[in-house]
């Protein structure tokens, strides 16, 4: 679990265009408020999550509530990984 969280956070830190330099992402920080979530970042994030964690994210999961914090993303991964 910890490992998933670290991977997700690292991905966000290295790909999100942040509004202020040197930001630190806490697990419950709203990433839409800390950085500029554009189409390319959104696509990169989805592709990363699908490939890295071998899950499929459908239209029904695309709600921003599922992507707004590190914790919510981890929760989404967890939900999908449990389905076999």
């Amino acid at each position: 679990m910890m490992e998933i969280k670290q991977k997700v956070r690292q991905f966000i830190e290295s790909n999100l265009i942040v509004f202020e330099e040197e930001v630190v992402f806490a697990d419950d920080d709203h990433i839409f408020q800390m950085g500029f979530v554009n189409s390319l970042f959104a696509m990169q994030l989805l592709t990363y999550l699908e490939q890295e964690f071998e899950i499929t994210i459908g239209n029904e999961d695309m709600d921003i509530a599922n992507f707004s914090t590190v914790n919510s993303i981890v929760h989404l991964i967890d939900k999908h990984s449990r389905v076999v």
Partner: protein, 354 residues
Amino acid sequence: MEKNEDKRKEIKCVVWDLDHTIWNGVLLESDEVELKAGIREIIAELDARGILHSIASKNDAETAMDKLRELGIDHYFLYPEINWSAKSLSISCISTNLNIGRDTILFIDDQIFERDEVKSEHPDVTCLDAAEYMSLLDNPRLNPRFITEDSLRRRTMYLEDIKRKKEEDSYKGPKESFLRSLDMKFVISEAREEDLKRAEELTIRTNQLNATGYTYSYEQLDRFRQSSDHLLLVCELTDKYGSYGKIGLALLELKPTHWHLKLLLMSCRVMSRGVGTVILTYIMQQAKNKGKRLQADFKQTDRNKMMYVTYRFANFKEISNDEQGQILFENELDQIQPFPPYLEVKVAVAGRQA
């Protein structure tokens, strides 16, 4: 060529073989190759129509580029693939580098083997026997209805993109400081009459970043432009390298209770700059200020997932979906992304009553 040719997509790039196609003879056998009659003029004319050129040739890259320079036509070709790999692979690379669909590529080669190899890997690429090159200028798919300022500058704009990409790849610092260094300006304005040709061209050329796939004619767009219950917006992006041209288009229907976004599209060339989100932010802010609800039509295709994601991440929610891909979105307007800090947004839109 097949009869139904006209119905297929406009060609955005012609990919040329070299030996026995652009010139007579085989370069590695004789340095004395000559351009085929009329080729220079055909290439120049297509270029002026805004159609790009590239190369897929099995040759020695340096020798071939030297020859093209000597012939004075090297500057026409973007991302030339001169190597010994399969031409289907070369075409994949060109399609990726230019970020255009393979169904908008015309491949010209004198050898049936090469055409068949490309065809078998990429059935969506159109192949033409080099013997038929004189027919090119009359091919309807190489005759765009309008030649716009953007089509005239298209090759230059791609060259500017190559420069940007090089600088971006070699830039070591954080992404946002690179973006800031580009000095980007994004101008949103109401479409004027002279923008309509480009607007029609955008609706026809844009696939990946097109929300509805609707294509509108010049005349229809002109009616929307003049109609008091519609707002037709065009976006232009410039940076320190030059102008990306008119790269975005949005059509809003202004109803008493809500605004309805009928069309939103962005040129693929600006994908990495976040401008799709910027125009959505602008529209959302305006709708919110005027106290309107905001709805948007969407047609999901196998090519526009990026656009679907753009809407969803801008907090649009599906309120209906006919399972055929036709979706109606609505946005509560309670969470609006600010404009990105690396981009200056200028708005030139007169106030509307509706």
